[in-house]
């Protein structure tokens, strides 16, 4: 297998600006075109371990990041994302080009991959069982996810999109860079000192964002599904004692359903898939403030 790392920075920029780069990202293949240097640099930094596929390979998603040719482009340079050649999103400031790629790819999967039930949740695995972490923005979900995979020995399946295969209820990995926001960036820099992070981008709609490279072992195991083991609704609360309260399965079901992208679209198939998850994976409401304590709790689960 050829990996993105086999390309020199100059080759990577040339490929992105020319025929495009065909990336294997878990179950999906993405063909990306972009002449923007910061996109090439971040792809080189964060996707070095990912399979580089032939230009003629079938691609699930075709994305282009380009600079719109407006008269204001010299004053306020912008970037726009094209999906299948069409612009579906508002342009963003040019320095947000790489985050826009990540957000756009999340949109592609969450709005197009309807062979899976997709939950807005991080998902990590150890000893064959996965912990699903659904939570709204600002709850500390991605910070916890980054700590679990960067230091706790858990395998990253995804930091944003839990994909439940409708046929058998198994969780399909989509290991991609972990999105960190605001204070979480420095927290993870300190807690996982050997983590590779993209340069922070300020003033996005989510505040300051940076992406942490997914562990190479998680990328290498992107073809290995996992069994749902636990559903844990995390919440970071400064100074709080660690608490973990078991949830009734019906409550877990309803909260999970509220965090799905396509539960309603999938109708009865979505209900059955979600019920399968809840039957295999007991729910917990989890509050933490200290990452060491949180990781110890998760290790206890994995050993149980």
């Amino acid at each position: 297998m050829t990996a993105v790392a086999s390309l020199s920075p100059a080759q990577l920029r040339a490929a992105l600006a020319g025929p495009g780069l065909t990336l294997g990202t878990g179950r999906f293949t993405t063909r990306l075109h972009s002449p923007i240097a910061s996109v090439a640099d971040s792809i080189g930094l964060l996707y070095a371990d990912y399979p580089l596929l032939d230009d003629t390979a079938f691609a699930d998603f075709h994305l282009q990041l380009t600079r719109p040719l407006t008269h204001r482009r010299w004053l306020k340079p912008q970037v726009t994302l094209l999906y299948d050649g069409r612009s579906l999103f508002r342009p963003l400031p040019l320095d947000q080009a790489y985050p826009m790629f990540e957000w756009g790819l999340n949109w592609c999967v969450s709005s197009r991959a309807n062979r899976y039930l997709i939950v807005h949740a991080a998902v990590v695995e150890k000893n064959g069982r996965a912990a699903i972490l659904p939570a709204p923005p600002g709850s500390g979900k991605s910070t916890l996810c980054a700590a679990l995979v960067g230091r706790g020995g858990w395998r990253l399946l995804s930091d944003e999109l839990t994909m439940v295969r409708l046929d058998d209820g198994l969780l399909v990995p989509l290991p991609r860079p972990v999105s960190l926001k605001n204070g979480a960036i420095d927290v993870i820099r300190a807690y996982v000192p050997d983590a590779t992070l993209s340069p922070p981008v300020t003033d996005t709609v989510k505040g300051t964002v940076a992406h942490m490279k997914a562990p190479g072992t998680s990328v290498a195991r992107a073809g290995e599904t996992a069994l749902p083991g636990w559903v844990i609704f995390p919440r970071y609360q400064a100074g709080a004692e660690l608490t973990a309260q078991p949830l009734a399965r019906a409550d877990t079901f309803m909260e999970l359903a509220a965090n799905c992208f396509n539960y309603s679209l999938l109708a009865a198939a979505g209900f059955e898939a979600l019920a399968g998850v809840v039957e295999s994976a007991p729910g917990w409401r989890f509050t933490y403030s200290v990452l060491d304590e949180a990781l110890a709790f998760f290790d206890g689960l994995a050993r149980s």
Partner: protein, 84 residues
């Protein structure tokens, strides 16, 4: 009126755990959380296991009202009476 019946066309996908149930209404697309008793009553109505006398039991009034408010059941009219 002579009783209650489930709104026709529903498949009643459901699960019941520890006294609480979840139910998918494939007509409305809504998912409901119900008590185990409410689900049991709904399934009995589906299977036509309850007489008019059973359904007139005041002890069932709240459960029936709850199921009706969720559009899972509807009044069964006596022959010759059309709903307004």
């Amino acid at each position: 009126m002579s009783g209650w019946r489930i709104v026709s066309g529903q498949t009643l996908h459901h699960r019941c755990w520890d006294g609480m149930a979840v139910l998918y209404n494939d007509l409305s697309g809504a998912t409901h959380q119900l008590s185990e008793q409410a689900l049991a009553l709904l399934l009995d109505l589906r299977d036509d296991l309850l007489s008019s006398d059973d359904l007139a039991d005041p002890a069932l009034a709240d459960l029936l009202d709850n199921l009706r408010s969720l559009d899972l059941i509807e009044a069964r009219m006596a022959p010759g009476i059309e709903p307004v």
